[in-house]
Every structure is written in structure tokens, then in C-alpha cells.
Amino acid sequence: MLEVFIFATLNGLVTGLLLFMLASGLTLIFSMMGVLNFAHASFYMLGAYFAYSISLQFGFWTGLVFAPLIVGLLGAIVERYALRRVHQSGHVAELVFTFGLAFLIEEAVQFFWGPDTKNYQTPEILDFALFTLFGQEFSAYRGFMIFISVAIFLGLFYVLTRSRIGIIIQAAITHPNTVANLGHNVPLVFMGVFGVGTALAGLAGVIAGPVLTTFPGMAVVLGSIVFVIVVIGGLGSLAGAFIASLLIGLLQSYAIASDVGMPDLLALLGVEFERNHPLNDLWTLTLSQVAPILPFLLLVLVLIFRPTGLMGKRES
């Protein structure tokens, strides 16, 4: 029991931190421009694919450095030449645009790399067990993922709260017009934040690609979960996104690892149920079965009872 718990915790931590790398960029972009970027997870996918292509030629580490840069550059271009134009037609148009972009990127990835799963490998240097617990190995690569994610979190936190540019960004979030009046180039700040946010998503893709498999559907798998995190954490709140990421990561990981379900609950309550009843599916439901929908359940509940999210200050 204990080993299941510990490994579920570790896996949840890895997933949660990975989700945070995506969510941090998304929540920054949202709080600055007020647009939820549907294509955010697509940039994550692009990161994985670019890193795969680079790693074939120059190895994993070159990919780790350059793939996020390429993705960030692409993100900045999208902001500068497309999103800024669509911005004039209002929020719905922006949301719909990023939605279409996500669709387009998925098709483009299939066009350039094909529809099959890519054999994107972890680097050999990290191909060993970091430690062995209860006879199960915890791979060094997962440890590396935790290290990168924590480093990004600390770095981001430092930049946003301690550096000059961080202060300008924070000011631009709440008072864009005042910041512009003070002589700062707010559109440039927006473009930069969009670029950095997408680069972070790309980085997440680079390190997640080998573990979560690199295939054209990988954006869809994570896309809506990242949305859930940003909303649950509170739109625009970095700390909220961090908490929500870990929460969702752990929640899903525990739910998958658990072996309890409705039969246990009914037995506990002393309720008998008959087999072959039309509602049989409901009575035999297990927690691991509902694991994929837990985040969405949480999302709907949070939006109904606390629309500002855990740490958010505004609704939209």
C-alpha cells in the first residue's frame, strides 16, 4: 500500500510539475492579453517534434536548448502578425483564432512528420535508475524532469517578482495604459510574454516527449487539462496555477493507482445491488475509471461555486 502511495505521489509530482510549465505560460498570456490561448498545448507538441528532429542530428541536449527557442520564436511571430490583427475583432475572435490555430498546427504536424508515433528517446546518459524503492525503479529521467520544472518555477518566480522587466510585466497586466504612458512599449512586452510563454510550453514538450510519447494527438491530450488548471488556479495567478497543477497531477495519479470504487462504497453503506440492472455501469464504477474526468468535474464545480478560482481575483 505504502509503495503504491509513494510512487503515485512521485508520478503525480512529475505530471503536476510538467502541467505547471504549460499552465504558467498560459496564465501569464491570459492575464496580460485576456485571451485564453487554445493553441498553447500545440506549441508544447511543436516543442516535442522539433526536439525530436534536432535530436536525430545533434542529440538530445541540443534539442533541449534550441527547440524551445524555435517554438518561442514561432509564438512571437504568431502574436505579432496574427493575434494582434485578430485582437481588433474582439475576444471571441481571438479565442476562435487560437482554436483554429490549434487545429491547423495539429494538421501541419501530421503533414510534416506524419501521423505515426515518433521514436523520441530519453538521452542515454539519463538511462539509469535514480533509486530503487520496494523493488521499483524511479528513472533518472523523471528526476531530471522534476529538476527542470522546479528550476523553471523558481526562475520564473524570481524574474517576475525581483527583476525590472518582471515589475513592468506585472504592471502591464493590471494597468496596461498607465505602463504605456510611462513610455514602455506594451505591445513589445506582450509579444515577449507570448514568446516566452510558448517557449516554456515548447520546453515542456521537449522533456515530456520521450515519456508521454510524441504523436500528433499529444496536444489534445493535455490541452484541455491545462485549461482546467488555469481556471481552477484562478485566471492570471501564477501561484494558483502552481497549486492547481500539483493538485490535478496528484489527484489523477492517486485515482489511477487506487483500486477502490462504487462497489466498495456500497459495501461500506451496506447497500445491496443486483447485477444486470440498467444502472449496472454506475454501481461497478471504479475510481481509476473516472480518473480522466476528475479534472473536468473539478473545473465545473469550481466555476459554479468559486468562479474566481483558488487564487484568482477576477472572473474573466
Binding site: 485564453l36 496574427a82 490583427r85 485578430v86 475583432s89 475576444h91 471571441v92 475572435a93 479565442l95 476562435v96 483564432f97 482554436f99 483554429g100 490555430l101 487545429f103 491547423l104 495539429e106 494538421e107 501541419a108 501530421q110 503533414f111 489534445v220 484541455s224 485549461f227 482546467v228 481556471v231 485566471l235 440498467p278 444502472l279 449496472n280 455501469d281 454506475l282 464504477l285 475509471q289 473516472v290 480522466p292 474526468i293 473536468f296 468535474l297 473545473l299 465545473v300 466555476l303 459554479i304 468562479p307 472572473e315 474573466s316
Partner: protein, 412 residues
């Protein structure tokens, strides 16, 4: 005279619906018309939410899919002779269930519009789609549920073995649904939906509950989406999880947006165009989804009000009789534009076909021949140059055509 003018659009619509199968009577054409019919009702119901009510939904397929599932189950009940009615009422079954689902979900999701509503709809959509794979008894898991429409009591001797018979049923439902959705926009509830979309605060000040107004639109949209789902069930005789997941929700958003949200006719255009692309383009190329994506993104960027919006942009010029002045500038930009698209598509297809020769617009292209690349790239380059040159002229002509001449004295 005014009355005739008022109804002429509707009579034309009805005639088109009735006469279409007379002109195109192949099996493929009928199947495309049936898909169009379903798509039109679905897209119009979506526009009740987004276009008229200002509620961006990422989970509208829920009502479509649930309606469809109930409709298939109703078909099964007819087959088992538990209930006894003609299958032409099946879409209504779907509609009623879509309405019920709308009432339940709308009761808490319409509290706010904007991002909160969009996120709730996304969450609900994912929830229902995921649940449909868990509750195998009702949803049939991955395989879905299938029924048989031919077991119902015959209607005037028609037993609905053929698609063409279903087409007339679908056409009738499309017409009725379109009329009612149009009438809805004319009711106080429809008018208030527009007001709440534009400014919820003011609407509240004059005494309307924004939430209640949204709720009404939401339920109505659920009802008509359910009818579309019922039509789907009737046409295909099966329904799967795919009909209520995010992909279907995304597709309806695409249809409504490309067609034009602000206009009643917009989603109809979108539904027709996308269904045509869907069924015809996919015969010619494997990459049609890529082209669809490109078209969608370009539409959002350059025609934010969709195809219908593009047509309506010419109203001022038309009223002034200056439309003909735009013809030459349009041709000057449009022809190179078409050439550029053709060349770009040729290059995309060449890199996709890797060495195999293939037919394209009457030419045989081979990606291994440098000549083909040089020619297509040349055409693309020249057309970009021509477009860049002609755009200022087009803008000038556009400005001129949209300037209202005071001298005439009869301004619009």
C-alpha cells in the same frame, strides 16, 4: 406586395430544399444533402448561442449527441414495439431530450457569459464525452448504438429504406427548424438575447435578468441541437461517442464562424460550404483537413464576420449601384490570388506525394522533377507580386464605392 416580398426568401428556400434532389439525384449527392440538412440545423442552433446570445460554447455537441443517442434508443423502442409512432417524429424525440439537457445544464452554466461560460461548456463537454465511454449500457462504448429506421409504421406507404425518403423528412425538419429559429430571433426573448449579448449591464438596468435571458436562448439552442442529433440518428441509424465530443463541438463552431456569426443566414452558408468541402475535397486529397485549417485561420484573420459578413459588406456599394466599379479591381486581385492558392496547393501536394506522379488540375506533377517546382514557385512568386501591386487599387476602389454621394439626395 410587401407580404410577398417578405415571404419570397422563405418560398425560395423551400423550393430549393424540395427541388435539389431533382437536379442532383446520385446516391452521393443525396447523402451530401442529408449531411447538409443535419449541419444546417446544428449550425443554426449554435448561432443562437454565440451569434445571437454572445455565449461562446465549446461543448455544443453535448446536446446534439445526447439528442442523437435518445433518438437511436427511440428507434430501438419502435423496433421492439414498445412504442408505436412514425419515425418522422424521431428528431422531435432528440429535440426534447436536447431541451431537457439544456434546461439542466443551463440552470447553472448561464450565470455568466464570456470566459466563465466558455470554460463551463468545455468542462461539461469533456465530462459527458468521457462519461459516455464509461456508461456502456446507454452509450454503447466505442462502438456506439445502432438502430433500424425501417421497423416503424409506414407513412403513406413509405418505409424509409432509401436515403432519398429520409431526405424529404430531413428537408421538412430543416425548413420547420429554420423558420422557428428565425421566428425566435423576432420574439422579445430573441431581441433581449441580442441586448444581453451587447451589454448585459444595461439589459439588467431596464429590468431583465441577463441570466434568465441567456437561459432561454440556451435551452432553445439545446432543443434545436437535439433535433439535429435526431436527424443524424435517422440518417445514419447509428450514433457514437464521437458525436458528442470536442471534435464535433469544434466543427460546429467552425461552421458557424466561417459562415458568419452576425447574420442569420451565415451558419447556413457555413454548413453548406463545410459539408461540401468535407465530402468532396476528401475524395481528392488526404490533406483536406490541412486546407480546412488554413482556410479557417485565414477567415478569422481577414474576414472576421465570415462569408455572410463579406457579402453584406457590399450593401452600401450595391445600394448606390457602384458594385460594378469593384468588379475589375476584384478580378485584378482575385485572379492572382486564385493562381497563388493553386500554386501553393500544388507545392504542398508535391511535398506530400514524395516522388509519385499525380494529376492536379489537368497537369501531371512529380515532386522529383525540378521543373515542376520551378514553375509552381514561379507562378506563386509572380502572383504575390501582382497581388501586392493591385491591393492599393482595390482599396482605392473600395473607398470610392463606399463613399455616399450626397448629390443624389437619396441616401440609404
Amino acid at each position: 406586395m410587401a407580404v410577398a416580398k417578405k415571404f419570397s426568401v422563405w418560398i425560395c428556400y423551400l423550393l430549393v430544399l424540395l427541388l435539389l434532389p431533382q437536379f442532383f439525384d446520385t446516391v452521393l449527392a443525396i447523402s451530401i444533402f442529408n449531411q447538409m440538412a443535419i449541419a444546417i440545423v446544428f449550425a443554426l442552433s449554435y448561432n443562437m448561442l454565440l451569434g445571437q446570445g454572445g455565449m461562446l460554447s465549446f461543448g455544443h455537441a453535448v446536446y446534439y449527441g445526447l439528442g442523437g443517442f435518445l433518438a437511436v434508443h427511440a428507434l430501438l423502442l419502435i423496433e421492439d414495439e414498445i412504442v408505436h409512432f412514425s419515425i418522422i417524429w424521431i428528431p422531435l424525440v432528440g429535440g426534447v431530450f436536447g431541451l431537457l439537457a439544456g434546461i439542466f445544464i443551463g440552470s447553472f452554466s448561464t450565470r455568466k457569459a464570456g470566459t466563465v461560460f466558455a470554460m463551463i461548456s468545455l468542462g461539461i463537454g469533456e465530462l459527458i464525452a468521457a462519461s459516455s465511454l464509461i456508461f456502456v449500457g446507454f452509450f454503447g462504448g466505442e462502438a456506439g448504438v445502432s438502430g433500424d429506421r425501417t421497423f416503424g409504421p409506414p407513412l403513406f406507404g413509405v418505409e424509409f429504406f432509401q436515403d432519398i425518403e429520409i431526405y424529404y423528412v430531413a428537408a421538412a425538419w430543416v425548413f420547420i427548424a429554420t423558420v422557428f429559429m428565425y421566428l425566435f430571433t423576432q420574439t422579445p426573448a430573441g431581441r433581449m438575447a441580442n441586448a444581453v449579448r451587447d451589454n448585459p449591464e444595461r439589459a439588467e438596468f431596464i429590468g431583465y435578468s441577463a441570466r434568465y435571458v441567456r437561459f432561454i436562448s440556451f435551452c432553445a439552442a439545446g432543443f434545436f441541437a437535439g433535433i439535429a442529433g435526431g436527424l443524424f440518428a435517422l440518417n445514419y441509424e447509428f450514433i457514437t461517442e464521437e458525436n458528442l465530443n470536442a471534435i464535433t463541438s469544434g466543427r460546429v463552431l467552425l461552421m458557424a464562424y466561417i459562415g458568419g456569426l452576425g447574420y442569420f443566414i451565415g451558419p447556413i452558408i457555413g454548413a453548406v460550404v463545410l459539408t461540401l468541402m468535407n465530402s468532396l475535397l476528401s475524395n481528392y486529397t488526404e490533406l483536406w483537413m490541412l486546407y480546412l485549417g488554413i482556410m479557417f485561420v485565414l477567415t478569422v484573420m481577414f474576414l472576421p464576420r465570415g462569408f455572410a459578413g463579406f457579402i453584406m459588406m457590399h450593401q452600401v456599394a450595391w445600394i448606390q449601384g457602384k458594385l460594378k466599379n469593384l468588379l475589375v479591381p476584384y478580378l485584378k486581385t482575385g485572379v492572382p490570388g486564385l493562381l497563388f492558392s493553386a500554386a501553393a496547393v500544388a507545392m504542398i501536394e508535391m511535398s506530400h506525394h514524395e516522388g509519385e506522379a499525380f494529376e492536379y488540375l489537368g497537369f501531371t506533377l512529380n515532386s522529383h522533377s525540378p521543373v515542376a517546382w520551378i514553375i509552381t514557385a514561379g507562378i506563386a512568386g509572380v502572383s504575390v507580386y501582382l497581388i501586392r501591386r493591385s491591393i492599393p487599387q482595390l482599396q482605392e476602389a473600395w473607398e470610392e464605392a463606399n463613399t455616399i454621394n450626397d448629390a443624389d439626395g437619396d441616401q440609404p
